[in-house]
């Protein structure tokens, strides 16, 4: 059944007092184009509600610089991802060429030493930030109900970060990384019952060999980044869902009149 709507009268006169339309500036046009593009995207994804939910959140009174440690850790991780991808373009994880390819990156590739340095110091930075963030959460009591699960996810992220640091340490394949990793694997292997088999798994055999390096490389650049990325997403989702906590020194405001009225 087709609807019959009244036709719009043609040639309706402009209302008196309406200012004459001025020609649009480039700025207006650009603004309209941006709004149109975002509108096109939003119409098809309904992303703006999610974006508002993520970005425009209420934060409690007393929020301070300590609350930036989690974001700092995440930015350190993103920096590691970016520099790591570019290092992987030059690095060769084979026992005969790994050291040589690192030497090539450091001495011959344009900005190679800088990018390697960013990755190396970035790793230290990430470990420091993640522990400061953990300390902040602990001392502010932000792990308590209902945020326990987020604490658990955070602890798993700490462990994955440490394994990331251990596996990455071997890759330069110099004396320090070789012996430090030998010691690290033996620490794992000193666990009773399961330890010896775990050591064999990490080394891909009873001795350090060709497979050890490629195995550490695959764990370092494929397995763990994916796991960490996924867990960060879950961690952030829960942070946004719960909201952040107030620092412990902020007292709850009590409305005395309301209290008397309810007593």
């Amino acid at each position: 059944m087709a609807l019959k709507l009244p036709a719009v009268p043609a040639g309706a006169p402009a209302r008196p007092g309406t200012p004459a339309a001025e020609p649009k500036s480039v700025k207006d046009n650009a603004g309209e184009a941006a709004v149109a593009a975002l509108g096109w995207l939003d119409e098809r994804t309904a992303i703006s509600g999610t974006a508002r939910w993520v970005m425009f959140r209420k934060v409690p009174k007393g929020t301070n610089w300590f609350y930036t440690l989690g974001t700092s850790t995440m930015l350190a991780f993103l920096s590691q991802v970016i520099t790591g991808v570019f290092l992987a373009m030059y690095y060769d994880p084979s026992p005969n060429n790994a050291y040589e390819s690192m030497r090539h990156i450091n001495n011959e590739v344009f900005l190679g030493q800088f990018v390697h340095g960013m990755h190396r110091w970035g790793a230290t930075t990430m470990v420091i930030f993640i522990f400061l963030h953990m300390g902040r959460t602990f001392f502010f009591g932000a792990y308590k109900y209902p945020r326990e699960l987020n604490w658990v996810i955070g602890v798993i992220l700490v462990l994955l970060t440490m394994i990331m640091a251990l596996t990455g340490y071997l890759l330069p394949w110099d004396q320090r990384s070789y012996w430090a990793t030998a010691v690290g694997v033996n620490v794992f292997a000193s666990a009773p019952i399961a330890g010896p088999y775990l050591g064999d798994f990490l080394r891909a055999g009873p001795e350090f060999g060709a497979t050890t390096l490629s195995r550490f490389y695959a764990i370092h650049m494929l397995l763990l980044p994916g796991l960490i990325g996924g867990l960060i997403a879950a961690h952030l989702y829960l942070v946004i869902k719960h909201g952040t906590t107030a620092p412990p020194w902020i007292e709850a405001e009590i409305d005395e009149d309301l209290r008397k009225a309810e007593a």
Binding site: P95, N96, W179, A182, V183, N186, A189, G205, F208, G209
Partner: protein, 223 residues
């Protein structure tokens, strides 16, 4: 539609489900769901099991047994160590090599039972604390570890520091007039032979059961 909610008969025909066969107890919806789930699990298994096997395979592959000639018998003395570099893993370049300290058997101090594999004593340089390389210091006749201060005496037995057992040894034999170094074995504090263990794994008391030997590396059977 007939009301089937109160009818609890196991037969679909009794529950008046349209198109039911006689004697049929599983609804088609349930059958379809189960089939989809089983197919799913088979598909996941086909990906996960080979991958897992691929990753765990090296845990069951035995390290190749190597015998490497390192010199004539008269090059070695019973009272001092001479170092030799041998390859313990093939195909790993420099990292597959290891230093071994060698001397001839000295019946005055080597009291463990004599056999064809210990006419020459080959001491591994792997520290039994956490695996750093130890160095033999002739002046004090001791093995010293640079990492955490482990000290071993002339026989490789622990004298101080954190190591949990004496230094590992290698089987030796004489073939064609040359001394050959073979596979590694571990020893407890009485210098009894055990299948090789990683550093930091105690072999005295219940240690040998807490830290079981692995399929990847075993001592020569019967020694």
């Amino acid at each position: 539609m007939p009301d089937t909610s109160k009818n609890t008969s196991p037969y679909t025909a009794d529950r008046n489900i349209p198109g039911a066969f006689e004697g049929e107890t599983v609804t088609r919806r349930r059958f379809m769901t189960a089939t989809a789930n089983v197919t799913n699990q088979v598909a996941v298994g086909m990906i996960v099991l080979p991958t897992l096997g691929f990753a765990l395979g090296p845990n069951f592959k035995k390290l190749e047994e190597r015998w490497e000639p390192v010199g004539r018998p008269d090059e070695f003395s019973p009272n001092d160590y001479i170092s030799r570099t041998i390859t313990i893993v093939a195909g790993a370049g420099q990292t597959g090599k290891s230093t071994v300290y060698l001397r001839t058997r000295n019946p005055e101090i080597d009291t463990e039972p004599e056999d064809e594999y210990n006419q020459f004593i080959a001491i591994s340089t792997r520290c039994m604390h956490l695996g750093c390389p130890v160095r033999y210091v002739p002046a004090s006749q001791r093995f010293i570890c640079p990492c955490h201060g482990g000290v071993y005496d002339f026989l490789g037995e622990v004298q101080g520091g954190p190591p949990v057992r004496p230094l590992d040894r290698f089987y030796t034999r004489v073939r064609d007039g040359l001394v050959e170094i073979g596979p590694r074995f571990s020893v407890n504090s009485e210098l009894r032979r055990f299948s090789p263990r990683d550093p930091a794994q105690d072999l005295d008391g219940i240690g040998q059961y807490l830290f079981p030997s692995r399929p990847t590396i075993r001592k020569i059977p019967g020694t």
